[in-house]
């Protein structure tokens, strides 16, 4: 972890209809850190992650990532891999085809890299089965693979260990540490305090629409 801040969120507020989910929330993310956000279901963790990823627009407040403010000109942050609660994959396609389609859009990934990340998460790039036949854990792994595919500097992972068995969770923790060793910054959300205590540099709890240090 360094002293350089790569992500700043200031005074973020977000409401859905009458329900206020986030209220004047402030947050900074140091470079090369593993930071976790925990909180009860419905506390707004995922919404906050989606705001950081540019997928949800805040009612007020600003997000700056790698020195660039997210606004109408830059809607989504550069060099950021995201993985949310669902794997975000096409169930009728193979694992490789899913990544191929996404790689076509990002336009920076080779087929060798696609095969490499699929192997990295413990899956087989030659597997011809559609993703619908995969277990929840396998889908989580594939979701993490798509987040890693473009070799981003920042990873945002929303409850990445949900559906992983004990071995899978150990594998994930090792992977995260390895990625940190490569200089990447990782922001995750989790329900498990033990998990957070075991490998995170910083942790926050989301409550009442704001973040507090754990």
């Amino acid at each position: 972890m360094t002293n350089t801040t790569i992500l700043t969120a200031s005074k973020i507020s977000k409401s859905f209809k009458q329900k206020e989910v986030l209220r004047d929330l402030n947050f900074t993310l140091p470079e090369n850190a593993i930071v976790a956000i925990c909180g009860i279901n419905g506390s707004g963790k995922s919404v906050f992650m989606r705001i950081l990823a540019g997928l949800v627009l805040p009612d007020s407040g600003t997000v700056t990532i790698f020195g660039t403010r997210l606004d109408r000109r830059t809607e989504f942050p550069a060099s950021t891999g995201v993985h949310f609660d669902n794997s975000g994959l096409l169930l009728t396609e193979t694992a490789r085809n899913n990544l191929l389609l996404l790689a076509m859009v990002s336009n920076t990934v080779s087929k060798e890299r696609i095969d490499e990340v699929i192997r990295l998460v413990g899956l087989d790039p030659a597997d011809k089965r559609p993703v619908r036949t995969y277990s929840t854990g396998m889908r989580q792994r594939l979701g993490i693979a798509q987040a890693l595919m473009e070799d981003p500097k920042l990873l945002m992972l929303d409850e990445p260990t949900t559906g992983l068995d004990f071995d899978g969770q150990d594998w994930f923790h090792d992977l995260i540490r390895e990625l940190q060793g490569q200089g990447k910054t990782i922001l995750i959300t989790s329900h498990s305090k033990e998990e957070i205590a075991s490998f995170c540099d910083q942790a926050y709890v989301m409550a009442g629409g704001t973040l507090k240090p754990l």
């Binding site: 995922s46 919404v47 989606r50 990823a53 540019g54 997928l55 949800v56 627009l57 109408r72 809607e75 989504f76 995201v82 949310f84 609660d85 669902n86 794997s87 975000g88 994959l89 096409l90 169930l91 009728t92 396609e93 085809n97 899913n98 191929l100 389609l101 996404l102 790689a103 076509m104 859009v105 990002s106 336009n107 920076t108 990934v109 080779s110 087929k111 559609p130 993703v131 619908r132 889908r139 798509q146 473009e150």
Partner: protein, 596 residues
């Protein structure tokens, strides 16, 4: 113990009835019914002032298109409740407190009552209004020759003249029963497809199809037309309910619809299926049957080209991924099959209406595949129920974005680029779809014995049978005729799909846009009649007016009127383009389940 069970049964019946009768859908149905009757009364007021209360009542009912909208009115109050209760988990809470069979039967009963009352109450109010405000004597001679009274309806005609209150009771009872049956069908269909909009729209679409194929196309027996069962007079030259001996036939359609509903309940309404949300019953030793597994993998997706990696622009590649993920081989096969059947039906109808021109040697220029094309594309009911319907369904899954779509957009970098890609997709889809059906209709016609030809056939002399209008055939202009038909449908499909896109984006629900636009489209057929004497600008509001060249009551069209249809679509575009752009720019991409 018995007292406890009785009390419990009363409680669930009371609770479901209260939910059904006080639902927001009941209010909507009620308002819709009154608005329709208001429109009908406006039309009825054009009849002679001497009309009696029963004339006013029946002419209003007859001119209000009440029978066409009845399935919607009946299904609005409660037919979608089984689907929404299943999705929200409320059904599970009910079945832990009460036997499943009791819960389901209570729900069906409450729904049938609510649907029947929603259908009948506006007519009862109309009766009260007519009797309180109209004191004219019965059977005034001035009304003897007007259209819209029950001339054909056997014994009912006697009732109309001698016991009008009983006549009103009989018709209202038919509507009451019809409402209950449509509502039951609506709820039962959600056992097959667990979606609330299926409950609202499927009975309506089925009734429209039956009305078309029975009353207009005459491919089904007359007694399968909902208008006959709902005792509305039939102005079409086809055979209709005329004699007392035919009364038993009127039971066939309600019985068939009830049988379908009961079959759906018996085969797909088992406790395990409903609570576990599986279509087929799970047997010991067998896994859950997955419908997707029934379709071969090759037909589920087009191949993805690896060669596109690290080539071209992001936008271009995104556009290609949209084609890859939203157009499936199986969809194209289904479209082709539907259009082959539709073309065959249209050709059969042409032969039925003008058999002489199909005789060998009748003319040097026999009917050709162009005639079949114009006939099929110009038929308003076929357009509303099949041709446009299939297209709207095909493109209805662009929005809201799936979880995969969200990941794609993040990589694309901007919401407006996704909007632009979707516009391009819809335009290309509209052109491609129209070209596909153009080819399918011509090939079907060829297989069924019509020749290919670049010349007009003998059908040019009876252009109304191929749904064309005079200025396109006299002087003959094949290219202009094709360009007009193709252009109207292409721009129309594009505009309607934009409306689907906008509704789906705003509501963040997948099928709602399709159902709303399809209902608007089908409703535009009677709406066109309502706007017959409206100012010209309103006459082009009904969608169908701008999709096909001719239909009742607009059977004539000149060049200027055709341009007005095109201008109307341009107005649609001028409204929809900024609205969709704005909706995309403001769109939040929230959590979405994985999808096919």
């Amino acid at each position: 113990m018995d007292h406890t069970i009785k009390a419990r049964n009363f409680t669930i019946l009371h609770s479901e009835l209260k939910r059904a009768l006080t639902s927001r859908g009941m209010l909507i149905a009620f308002i819709l019914g009154l608005v329709l009757l208001g429109v009908g009364m406006n039309m009825a007021n054009r009849y002679p002032e001497e009309k009696s209360f029963v004339d006013l009542w029946y002419l209003t009912y007859n001119h209000s298109f009440y029978f066409q909208m009845l399935p919607l009115i009946a299904c609005f109050p409660f037919a979608d409740s089984l689907a929404s209760d299943r999705k929200q988990g409320y059904l599970e809470r009910l079945v832990v407190r009460e036997r499943y069979k009791k819960v389901l039967s209570t729900k069906l009963f409450a729904n049938a009552i609510a649907g029947a009352l929603a259908a009948a109450i506006p007519l009862i109010l109309l009766y009260l209004f007519a009797t309180l405000t109209n004191h004219n004597p019965l059977n005034h001679p001035a009304l003897n020759t007007v259209d819209g009274r029950p001339y054909e309806m056997a014994e009912l005609l006697k009732l109309y003249h001698t016991m009008p209150d009983l006549f009103v009771l009989v018709v209202t009872s038919a509507v009451f029963i019809g409402g209950g049956i449509f509502a039951t069908l609506g709820m039962a269909t959600t056992l097959l497809v667990n979606h609330r909009f299926v409950a609202l729209s499927l009975p309506f679409l089925l009734a429209s199809l039956l009305q078309y194929f029975s009353n207009r196309a005459k491919l089904l027996p007359w007694y399968l037309a909902p208008s006959e069962v709902l005792l509305k007079p039939n102005f079409s030259p086809s055979h209709a309910f005329e004699t007392t001996n035919e009364i038993p036939y009127l039971v066939i359609l309600p019985a068939a619809l009830l049988l379908i509903s009961i079959s759906l309940i018996v085969f797909f309404g088992k406790r395990q299926q409903v609570l576990e949300n599986t279509l087929f019953r799970q047997k010991k030793g067998h896994g859950r049957i997955d419908l997707a597994k029934l379709i071969p993998a090759q037909l589920q997706n087009f191949p993805i080209k690896e060669s596109r990696l690290q080539r071209g622009s992001k936008w271009g590649n995104y556009f290609r991924t949209q084609l890859n993920t939203h157009i499936r081989p199986i969809q194209i096969i289904v479209i082709v099959l539907f259009m082959v059947v539709l073309s065959g039906v249209m050709l059969g109808w042409m032969k039925l209406q003008l058999p002489s021109v199909f005789e060998p040697g009748y003319s040097d220029s026999p009917p050709n595949t162009w005639d079949l094309y114009f006939r099929t594309m110009g038929d308003p009911w076929a357009m509303a129920l099949v041709t446009a319907n299939l297209f709207l369904f095909m493109v209805s899954n662009l929005q809201p974005q799936t979880a995969f779509g969200q990941l794609s957009i993040k990589r694309l970098g901007a919401r407006w680029r996704s909007w632009l890609a979707h516009l391009g997709f819809l335009l290309l889809a509209a052109i491609g779809y129209n070209l596909l059906i153009f080819v399918v209709i011509h090939l079907t016609g060829r297989v069924l014995g019509l020749p290919f030809s670049t010349q007009w056939s003998v059908m040019r002399d009876s252009f109304e049978h191929i749904n064309l209008v005079g200025f396109l055939t006299d002087p003959p202009n094949h290219t202009l005729a094709f360009a007009t038909v193709f252009g109207m449908s292409t721009i129309g499909f594009f505009c309607m799909s934009l409306l689907v896109l906008l509704i789906n984006t705003l509501t963040q629900r997948r099928l709602i846009g399709y159902f709303i636009v399809e209902i608007l489209l089908v409703s535009s057929l009677p709406l066109a009649s309502i706007f017959l004497n409206a100012p010209p600008i309103l006459q082009y509001v009904p969608i169908i007016r701008n999709l096909v060249m001719r239909f009742y009551p607009f059977v004539f069209r000149n060049r200027d009127q055709t341009f007005t249809s095109i201008y109307t679509w341009l107005v649609w575009l001028a409204v929809l383009l900024p609205f969709t752009w704005f909706a995309y720019r403001k769109q939040d991409y929230l959590s979405h389940p994985d999808s096919d």
